[in-house]
């Protein structure tokens, strides 16, 4: 029976697979501390996952070189989820049940983080998500944390700057990924509070080749400013198309714009863009006394030396997650998930790339309005935004 032949083959393959994996999950007490990473290294969200993976691998080597944590090396298991929730769920189960990791860093997108939030909570595995959505830590799940800055704060910063410039009526553009969706929600939520009216809002796709149509529609609503909320590279089109449309109202971007690549892609059109962002991009302009300066400069130097590409705030999320985890393990004095979890909640003043983290029982994000600075682009480079 030809069918029975291959049935045998399939059984053999999986049993062998089983034996191979069983040997790998060593005891949790001694030996290396296992940390799982789920990043979307390829696929639509590769501009988030790729820098995150490189940063995590770089930082782990550095920590292990310096003797690891509590004398134990950190073993990183990185999985590429391609930005899909189904793979994130599969890897989460694999990392927790099979590899017995202490914590999972990532995923890069909100959709994936929400998908594995309950899995990590039930299996008492710490989740340090690098995604933006507020829903990850609201409602608070004891084992679930978030290192990306709050969208709400970015939105509030934008609205405050608009109030100073006397802007009342705005148009919103957002990418159709998790980041854009979360940002738009916060803009809509805080707009009435800050007396801002959103006259028009459009969502665009990563594969968009041109945004003149959408901007033309928004221009028709005679708005005083445009806010673009996206991590998708197509966002560089916004600046270019606005200039080409001779639509000269201030352009506000989200902290998703914080990547020099988008400024270069936008070229001269990007000049004058105003956006809130972490301090990574203007690390060299920070006053020497600033707590984050040392961490940021060090990170930029090592990253650019090793990977010959500019740093991005998304890569920084992985840096912060791993730093927080290492800090918590040192403070808890053991790699027991329960103790490390409590340690994270009690962490104060942890200096990361996104800001200075102060966790608490109710705040599993640890950074707020102070994480942001209003920046602008002056002839191709980032600079502090000073209202002149």
């Amino acid at each position: 029976m030809k069918c029975i032949q291959w049935v045998g083959v399939a059984a053999l393959a999986s049993v062998v697979g089983g034996a191979w994996a069983a040997a790998e999950s060593a005891g949790a007490a001694s030996g290396p501390i296992k940390v799982g990473c789920i990043f979307s290294v390829t696929g639509p969200a590769s501009n988030l996952g790729a820098p995150e993976k490189k940063t995590a691998e770089m930082l782990v080597e550095k920590i292990n070189a310096a003797g690891g944590v509590l004398g134990r090396k950190i073993q990183l298991i990185v999985k590429d989820s391609e930005g899909t929730p189904e793979k994130a769920i599969s890897f989460a189960h694999q990392l927790i049940d099979e590899d017995g990791v202490l914590a999972i860093i990532g995923p890069s997108t909100s959709g994936e983080s929400l998908a594995i939030k309950n899995i990590c909570q039930e299996n008492k595995t710490i989740l340090l998500s690098c995604a933006a959505a507020e829903k990850i830590t609201d409602p608070v799940a004891p084992y679930v944390f978030k290192v990306a800055p709050k969208d709400a704060c970015a939105a509030r910063w934008i609205f405050q700057t608009m109030k100073e410039l006397g802007i009342r009526r705005i148009g919103v553009l957002a990418s159709n990924d998790g980041f854009g969706l979360a940002g738009k929600e916060q803009l809509v939520k805080y707009a009435p509070q800050d007396h801002i009216e959103i006259a028009a809002s459009e969502v665009y796709d990563k594969a968009t080749t041109d945004l003149t149509g959408a901007l033309n529609k928004i221009k028709g609503q005679n708005v005083q400013a445009v806010v673009n909320w996206s991590t998708v590279p197509a966002q560089a089109l916004v600046a270019k198309n606005m200039k080409q449309l001779d639509f000269d109202v201030p352009l506000f971007q989200s902290h998703g714009f914080a990547n020099i690549k988008y400024v270069q892609a936008g070229g001269a059109a990007a000049n004058g863009t105003i956006f809130p962002a972490g301090r990574m991009l203007i690390a060299d302009l920070l006053p020497d006394g600033h707590p984050q300066k040392k961490v940021l400069m060090e990170y930029k130097k090592e990253y650019e030396a090793r990977y010959h590409e500019d740093t991005s705030t998304f890569g920084g999320h992985a840096y912060d997650a791993l730093t927080i985890l290492a800090e918590a393990v040192r403070k808890a004095g053991s790699a027991d998930p329960e103790k490390v979890r409590d340690a994270i909640e009690s962490l104060q003043g942890v200096v990361g790339t996104a800001g200075v983290f102060n966790f608490s029982k109710t705040d599993h994000n640890g950074i707020g309005m102070t994480a942001f600075e209003m920046l602008t682009v002056k002839d191709g480079k980032f600079a502090f935004y000073k209202r002149n």
């Binding site: 999986s14 930005g83 890897f91 997108t109």
Partner: protein, 356 residues
């Protein structure tokens, strides 16, 4: 003699049970999650195998039906109908026991449709869409058919990604478990792992049983004749249009069924389930299985998805499926699983040359 045809099915059941016992004994029960998900995905491959392998009708949009099933069921079982009026209808459903009260994320009570009703509606929606898409599409052939089905898949992807009610980019992540009978429950949590392993395999065994019978029956021959030459089949009295449409709807059902169960098992569904590339992966699986070979589609469906879900291919996951597509189409159009037959042919040639 009549029961000899069921030997392979019996073989499959034995394999399933043996695998479960072996894994549980080896303390490797953690495989069940990824196996169960792969088995649900192979259901889609089985449907596509009937459509593409047997009836010769390519479809580059079948992930769309998986998403329609999954999203309809996810929406209906999480949408709080207590607030959306229609009081009398709600009371009627209440009496019929088709409503479920539970708490949402923030702890306030909500009322949703029972997963059984959601499943029925999901299959009804799938049938309607499959007919709506199928009727014009069955007149198309070759790359026009490929284009139309690719277009259908993209429409589903765009609608799912662009509609606020369907969670946009985040999709659904709080879909309740599907309580089947008594203690039997489609649920991703660890205590239910073995139970769900068997639920998934039971679905596949039933579909394999029906499918294997179908392909050996009069209808199976008619489908294959359509693949070989539509004109000749038509001239012999095979109602080509009706058969193509029926097998199109049938394969859509299997994809939607897989979508519903997988969504309840994982507790959610995202727009990534409806991308064009996801459909192409199913095509690669059926091609690797040997096109006109249900057993091949099942084997490759479970094996390839299992390896992919374990991240064995790492960042080259897409490249592996691309390579499979090319290699199969160039070198083994009959697929990998027919390899035993290949050996037999080679052996026959060898015997022939030795004895000659």
């Amino acid at each position: 003699m009549r029961f000899r045809r069921y030997a392979p099915i019996a073989g499959l059941v034995l394999f399933v049970i043996a695998l479960q016992l072996a894994l549980s004994a080896a303390g490797a029960a953690y495989y069940f999650t990824q196996i169960t998900m792969s088995v649900y995905y192979s259901l889609v491959a089985l449907g596509l195998c009937l459509l593409m392998g047997y009836a010769g009708q390519i479809s580059l949009g079948h992930a769309g039906f998986f998403a329609i099933g999954g999203y309809t069921s996810a929406f209906l079982t999480t949408h709080n109908i207590a607030t959306s009026g229609g009081g009398s209808a709600v009371r009627l459903l209440q009496q019929l026991g088709l409503l479920v009260e539970r708490q949402d994320l923030y702890g306030n009570a909500i009322v949703n449709l029972s997963p059984w009703l959601a499943l029925a509606i999901a299959m009804a929606v799938t049938t309607a869409v499959a007919l709506l898409v199928g009727l014009p599409v069955i007149r198309l052939r070759g790359h026009y058919l490929a284009m139309a089905t690719l277009g259908f898949g993209i429409i589903v992807y765009r609608v799912v990604l662009g509609t606020a009610g369907l969670g946009e980019a985040d999709g659904f992540s709080d879909v309740p478990p599907f309580r089947l009978f008594g203690w039997l429950e489609v649920n991703g949590r660890k205590p239910f792992a073995a139970q769900n392993y068997y639920i998934a395999w039971t679905l596949v065994v039933i579909v394999m049983l029906l499918g294997a019978n179908l392909v050996r029956s009069r209808v199976g021959r008619a489908l294959r004749s359509i693949r070989e030459s539509e004109e000749a089949a038509d001239a012999l009295g095979v109602n080509v249009a009706r058969y193509k449409l029926t097998v199109f709807v049938l394969s859509a059902w299997l994809a939607a069924l897989a979508g519903v169960f997988a969504t309840h098992y994982r507790g959610g569904i995202g727009p990534s389930e409806a991308t064009a590339f996801k459909s192409i992966r199913y095509v690669a699986i059926v091609a690797a299985g040997g096109m006109t070979n249900l057993w091949g589609a099942l084997t490759m469906g479970v094996l390839l998805n299992f390896l992919s879900l374990r991240g064995v291919f790492g960042s080259y996951d897409d490249a592996v499926f691309g390579a499979i597509l090319i290699a199969i189409m160039l070198f083994a159009p009959d697929g990998l699983v027919r390899v035993p037959r290949l050996f037999r042919r080679i052996r026959k040639k060898l015997d022939g040359s030795l004895s000659a």
